[in-house]
């Protein structure tokens, strides 16, 4: 029973006082930013990256993971109570959740979403445990050429699920890859694009880029939008759902869990995609689709379960292969690199305590979240009344101090300012930041594998087609690219995103 041993190890790591504290801290922070519109998990994790530098690796990853899935819980609270999705993954919950609240079923909606999320989180964790070992073992057979192709597939697949123009998203990947090359060339020691700045010889630090692109740019855009809060919070009476609600919610939550879990593993997938697909599925298979949008329990249970299951399973490609599937996972990879851990299949074999500890902590964190969210709901709703003009300067300040603390250098603070401007330009031009970040994270490794593969094959690029694993991955990548060019698929993709934004 190797699996049981691993889990025992995981729980023994996760149940230490220190790790429990950081898990709780992450969950509370996650709930907090989930409740507050205008700041999401990507920006928060980006801002906290420098602080994690001062923490032990396991604790920091546990905390960052907590923020990610905690945000999914917190976002649903505001969706249901005030019709304001705190997170993009809970946008669909607004549709039926708020209607349920208006029908006087706010408490039932909240408890169904929390318990459904907990169930989905548990299943998600179990799926990670089941898939982690076989996937890692598979990944260990990969040669440099295979890895290179795998990264290409990961990057291309992530583009499909980004909204907007595909060519632009691919160009953003290349831009990210290019930024990833700044610094000293590993093979020859040559300085590349460092402009004789000693600070750049180790490459552009990941944290200031992420903070600038996501944190600063997000704040500026929110300041422009005059973010206003609407009042009219609904009172929560009883948290108990009726028997009929439970009977209808259970199958929906089950379907949501499995759909979400499956979509979470895909590159580019994650909570938002999971929630939308689950809602669409429920609407399609329902005997009475007209009740959706008027307070259907299924419309709350399914997407809430799906976004949480997806939040969990999106860790699988990152933990086992070292390939991040979305912006948050790219940040987690960044956090590992800051700690000196190279993400990939070696993490499980060389750092089993970190690997299994983190997985176990996710389950504990999910349990904590139910407690944080249900009885303390009033506190979170109160937070909504804090105006953005207090938050924005505070967030900026934490960004600056965090950036400075990375290496006690003002240079990093200036980098944050520069990448803030760049991030703002990206937003204005409708260029997605996520593909850029994925390219940036994978760039150095991809170059490394590419050069090694070419060296091993004596300069013959056919090596990418001769190895069966690599060939299969490249064929999949090409198929995806062809799929994107097909008009009907293009149209469906566009429609999916229109619905998402509406």
């Amino acid at each position: 029973m190797e699996l049981l041993d691993n889990l025992t190890l995981g729980f023994s790591v996760a149940f230490t006082f220190q790790n429990l504290t950081y898990c709780l801290l992450g969950c509370v922070l996650g709930t907090l930013i989930g409740v507050l519109p205008g700041i999401g998990p990507v920006a928060t994790i980006a801002m906290l990256l420098p602080i994690t530098f001062h923490l032990p690796p396991t604790a920091s990853l546990i905390m960052l993971a907590g923020i990610y899935y905690g945000a999914a819980y917190g976002g649903s609270t505001t969706s249901i109570l005030v019709n304001l999705p705190g997170e993009s993954s809970s946008v669909v919950t607004c549709l039926d959740g708020y209607q349920m609240a208006r029908n006087g079923r706010a408490g039932a909606a909240l408890s169904i979403s929390a318990v459904g999320s907990f169930f989905a989180g548990t299943v998600g964790t179990i799926i990670i445990v089941m898939f982690a070992e076989p996937l890692t073992r598979m990944a260990q057979k990969f040669g440099p050429a295979d890895y290179c192709s795998l990264m290409a597939l990961g990057l291309v697949a992530a583009v499909i699920l980004a909204s907007g123009s595909v060519v632009k998203a691919i160009a953003m990947i290349f831009l990210g890859l290019l930024f990833g090359l700044v610094g000293t060339d590993v093979n020859t020691g040559a300085q590349r694009f460092t402009f004789d700045l000693p600070e750049l010889s180790d490459g552009i630090d990941f944290a200031p880029i992420a903070m600038g692109l996501f944190g600063i740019a997000e704040i500026v855009v929110n300041l422009e939008k005059h973010l206003t809060r609407t009042g009219g919070t609904i009172k929560v009476t009883s948290l108990w759902p009726t028997m009929d609600e439970v009977r209808r919610a259970i199958p929906a939550a089950l379907r949501g869990t499995f759909l979400g879990a499956a979509l979470g593993v895909l590159p580019g997938g994650g909570p938002t995609l999971g929630a939308f697909s689950a809602y669409t599925l429920e609407k399609k298979i329902s005997r009475d689709p007209s009740k959706f949008g008027k307070g259907a329990v299924e419309g709350v249970a399914a997407p809430e379960a799906a976004n949480n299951a997806a939040a969990q399973t999106s860790f699988i490609p990152m933990l086992t292969l070292g390939i991040p599937s979305n912006a948050v996972m790219a940040l987690m990879v960044g956090a590992m690199i800051i700690q000196g851990i190279q993400p990939g299949p070696e993490v499980m074999t060389k750092k089993p305590d970190l690997f299994w500890g983190m997985i176990a902590s996710m389950w504990i964190g999910n349990a904590m979240l139910v407690i944080i969210n249900l009885p303390m709901i009033g506190i979170w709703v109160k937070l909504l009344t804090v105006p953005y003009r207090f938050l924005a300067p505070a967030i900026l300040l934490f960004c600056c101090i965090g950036a400075y603390s990375l290496q006690n250098s003002t240079f990093h603070v200036m980098q944050v300012a520069a990448f803030g401007v760049l991030g703002y330009i990206f937003v204005r031009l409708g260029c997605e930041g996520a593909p850029f970040l994925l390219g940036l994270v994978l760039g150095p490794q991809m170059e490394e594998y590419f050069r090694r593969a070419m060296l091993l094959s004596r300069g013959d690029p056919m090596v990418f087609l001769e190895r069966p694993i690599s060939l299969g991955l490249l064929i999949t990548t090409t198929l995806l690219l062809i799929l994107m060019a097909i008009p009907s698929f293009k149209k469906a993709r566009k429609e999916a995103f229109v619905e998402e934004e509406g």
Partner: protein, 149 residues
Amino acid sequence: MNRFLSKDFLSGLMFIGFGLIALYFGQKLALGTTVRMGPGYVPRMLSLTLCGLGLVVCIVALVSGSDPVERPKWKPITLVTIGIVCFGLLFERAGLIPALIVLVTIASLAGEEFKLVEVIGNIIALSVLCTLVFKVGLSMNIYVVRGVW
């Protein structure tokens, strides 16, 4: 509406711009051979591809049109950037509190409402919080206030 001021056309120009910058500054890096690649091989490959993609984005934008760029509001982005730069300049020379006061004041000016009392309250609360978290809690090596002048 000027069709050259569309989101996609300008993005394309941006990609070409970055590609050209990388080509220019990467020209001294040795290319090497396909077997033993020099430090310049991959950057050259990437920047050329980026230029190509940028060109495609531009052409597609001109042929099939794209959304016009919204007129940017200069106040928030300018003030926020100035605020961060000032913070960077002051932090080591004058310490946390002066840098914080300048940043929070400038950042508050970027918003739609500016109430002096609120900003002062915010500054006091954040000063206490940051000192406690970063100096006392994380015991970071920073100055709270430092006289230089």
